[in-house]
């Protein structure tokens, strides 16, 4: 089993957006679920489950960026960990380049790890403080036993330069760098094996505004230079709008809306997306008087016991009886725009 599956991805180390088959997405996720069991008592009897990710479908095409937004606890980070196989899904299917990687073991997964890399949120805890930058960025080469043309050191220094750092940083330690530089180190490490896909979980949220823009631009440049495919998870709607081609909005473990970026931001259809967008503070004091803001009341319900039917109904101003009894499926409301709502907004405008 391992032999036949490892052969394909290992030969394809060229970073170009491999158009293997024209319409086959690079990553396809169907019905993905992750329930964390809640146990009680001496025998760890399961009394419930935190339904962190509860049946989501999406696909990412080669060379594009899919942004995933949602509030804390909506399952977006868990989704990222499932796709990178850092966590074991309880159900559903993850296909990478057509191959099912949902339940591969550590050894069988290893060849795919070269193609799917991750950038983490916190540049302070995702770098080992006892290792030099050379060791950190060079680790992927050693772990995957990849031969480099002019040695690992040269390869690492090239990567550092690619990410806007100086090759002299090779022998330094993480504490000598600022937050933005550390995030660049994390990016260099993710790029070491020339992956096809990068999953970035809140890549800029720990950084200062002026540094945030530097890292966003770097991710942009790298995508164009290396033909990368991104799955970017973030809570900041304006950052996601800036980096994404398509955007998925998550709420309580479900995708409630997924659409082309321009379509989503110009005419959001799900009430939740609408509320999210109207809540973003805008640096323009004159606007605060004349804009209409949708104020959601209360907090996100517990994923231990999500509301029946539509999960957003408890905070939704449009909710009716059907919302409690029937769960709205994610359906295409217009070209390139899917929404899961019984009473979508902006649908009549087109």
């Amino acid at each position: 089993m391992t032999d036949s599956q490892t052969a394909a991805p290992q030969t394809a180390t060229v970073p170009a957006p491999a158009p293997a088959s024209d319409r086959e997405p690079l990553l396809r996720v169907t019905g993905l679920t992750r329930h964390f069991p809640v146990t009680k008592g001496l025998f760890k009897r399961q009394v419930g489950a935190v339904r962190a990710v509860d049946g989501i479908d999406f696909s990412v095409n080669a060379g594009e960026t899919l942004g995933v937004v949602g509030e804390s606890g909506c399952g977006k980070s868990t989704m990222g960990r499932l796709v990178t196989r850092l966590d074991e899904p309880t159900g559903g299917k993850i296909e990478f380049e057509g191959a099912d990687i949902t339940h591969l073991g550590v050894g069988a997964m290893r060849p795919y790890r070269r193609d799917i890399q991750m950038i983490f949120q916190d540049p302070y805890s995702s770098l080992n403080p006892r290792h030099t930058i050379g060791t950190i960025v060079g680790a992927p080469f050693r772990l995957q036993k990849v031969a480099t043309e002019h040695g690992v050191k040269k390869a690492v220094q090239d990567l550092l330069e690619l990410c806007g750092l100086s090759p002299e940083h090779y022998n330094r330690y993480p504490h000598e760098f600022s937050g933005g530089q550390r995030q660049r180190i994390g990016i260099a490490r993710a790029l070491a094996l020339k992956p096809k896909m990068i999953i970035a979980d809140e890549p800029v949220s720990a950084l200062d505004v002026s540094i945030q823009a530097q890292v966003v631009n770097l991710l942009d440049d790298l995508q164009q230079e290396l033909g990368l495919t991104y799955l970017i998870i973030a809570h900041d709607l304006s950052v996601v709008r800036h980096v994404s081609d398509r955007v998925a909005v998550m709420y309580l473990g479900k995708v409630v809306e997924i659409a082309e970026r321009d379509s989503l931001y110009a005419s959001p259809m799900h009430p939740y997306t609408n509320a999210l967008m109207s809540a973003v503070p805008v640096p323009d004091p004159r606007r605060k008087e004349r804009r209409e803001r949708i104020l959601l009341t209360g907090d996100v319900p517990s994923p231990l016991n999500p509301p029946s039917g539509c999960r957003f109904r408890t905070r939704c101003w449009k909710a009716q009886d059907i919302c409690a009894s029937q769960e709205p499926p994610l359906t295409a409301a217009k070209a390139g725009h899917q929404v899961a709502c019984h009473f979508p907004e902006n649908s009549a405008t087109e």
């Binding site: 002026s210 966003v216 709008r241 800036h242 503070p281 640096p283 004091p285 004159r286 605060k288």
Partner: protein, 348 residues
């Protein structure tokens, strides 16, 4: 601001320096501002710009003496006619909670996990109202929780902080801060740890409460969107110094300082057309031990050469650029306006 009366809060040439093994960290290095009751001042800056240190020194919360010695605080902080820098710790302790109160960024670490939310509010109330009975104080706590929008306050008062969600904890902390009707409220990144929908609720709450109590509010944040929502006046800090100060409307419409331009240019904005690229500020924030000579921003400033070398040798002071609008920049005002109109405004 009248001329004869002193403003309610007046900070004059505040300096807060911390001695460390590596040298003196000049966290705040010459800051002055005034604030009237009923007004909101937004202090904006990146990490390490000195904005939080400023708020902690107003509250008198810098530890008097650590292993490496006490922070060196100089200058004047006049609160309602009383200098807090010169006042003794006992006096500041009396004022803290009573006359000035603070909302912290992370309500989970700012609250005590072993005591119920109600007990913590009651403690703050009784500390400043010694004659009040426990029963009355509890009633007051429930009243405050109700006022900040916590449902079923008579039950929630007996909950522990971990039983609250992030937004509710922040509400409870606001209740705690306002229990003694302080006339100065300092909110240090009050919504940074919250989700956008909850952030909008909390910002609305702070605005409503200010209208109701008429207190002076200082809101400290790195998010220009948040200050635009709340502040009447804005102070932009960089490297421990103010670089620009002015009314919110004019500061956002015609910012004067290149650093403010940089901040505005590096934010992706939902209310504007999508740009191909963001325009970041190059480089990294300065070290507060070896602050760059002259203008602290000059190594990152794209226009530093236009000042004929003054940027590297001379420290700029806040100077009036428009009525009530001050900026600390060596560029001539006409030149600044030309650059802003030609190069910056089209990108924003």
């Amino acid at each position: 601001m009248s001329i004869n009366d002193k403003p309610f809060l007046s900070v004059r040439d505040l300096k807060v320096h911390f001695p460390t093994d590596d040298g003196l960290v000049k966290s705040v290095n010459g800051l002055s501002f005034d604030l009237e009751k009923g007004k909101t001042l937004g202090i904006v800056g990146e990490s390490g710009s000195g904005k939080s240190v400023t708020s902690l020194s107003i509250m008198g919360l810098h530890r008097a003496g650590g292993k490496r010695g006490a922070p060196q605080i100089s200058g004047e902080i006049w609160l309602d006619g009383e200098d807090l820098v010169a006042a003794g710790p006992d006096r500041v302790r009396k004022l803290r909670g009573q006359k000035m109160a603070m909302i912290f960024q992370d309500p989970l670490t700012a609250m005590h996990p072993y005591y119920t939310v109600g007990a913590q509010i009651v403690e703050g109330y009784r500390a400043h109202h010694p004659g009040v009975s426990k029963r009355e104080a509890r009633k007051r706590a429930i009243e405050m929780l109700d006022r900040v929008g916590i449902p079923q306050p008579d039950k929630r008062v007996d909950n522990y902080p971990h039983e609250f969600s992030g937004g509710m904890r922040q509400r409870a902390m606001i209740a705690m801060a306002l229990v003694n009707d302080p006339s100065l409220l300092i909110a240090d990144e009050p919504t940074t740890a919250l989700d956008v929908t909850v952030q909008a609720q909390i910002l609305d709450l702070i605005r409503d409460l200010q209208k109701e109590f008429g207190s002076a509010v200082i809101i400290i944040t790195h998010d220009l969107g948040v200050v635009a929502e709340l502040a009447d006046d804005i102070l932009v800090m960089y490297g421990g110094k103010p670089v620009e100060r002015g009314p919110a409307a004019t500061l956002f419409e015609s910012p004067e300082h290149p650093y403010t331009w940089g901040l505005l240019g590096s934010m992706p904005r939902l209310d504007r057309e999508l740009q191909d690229r963001l325009t970041p500020v190059k480089g990294t924030p300065p070290s507060l031990i070896n602050v760059p000579s002259g203008c602290a921003f000059h190594p990152r400033c794209p226009y530093a050469e236009l000042t004929g070398g003054r940027s590297t040798t001379e420290v700029p002071v806040l100077a009036e650029a428009a009525p009530q609008h001050h900026a600390a920049c060596h560029l001539p005002i006409a030149e600044r306006h030309r650059i802003f109109a030609d190069e910056i405004a089209p990108r924003l």
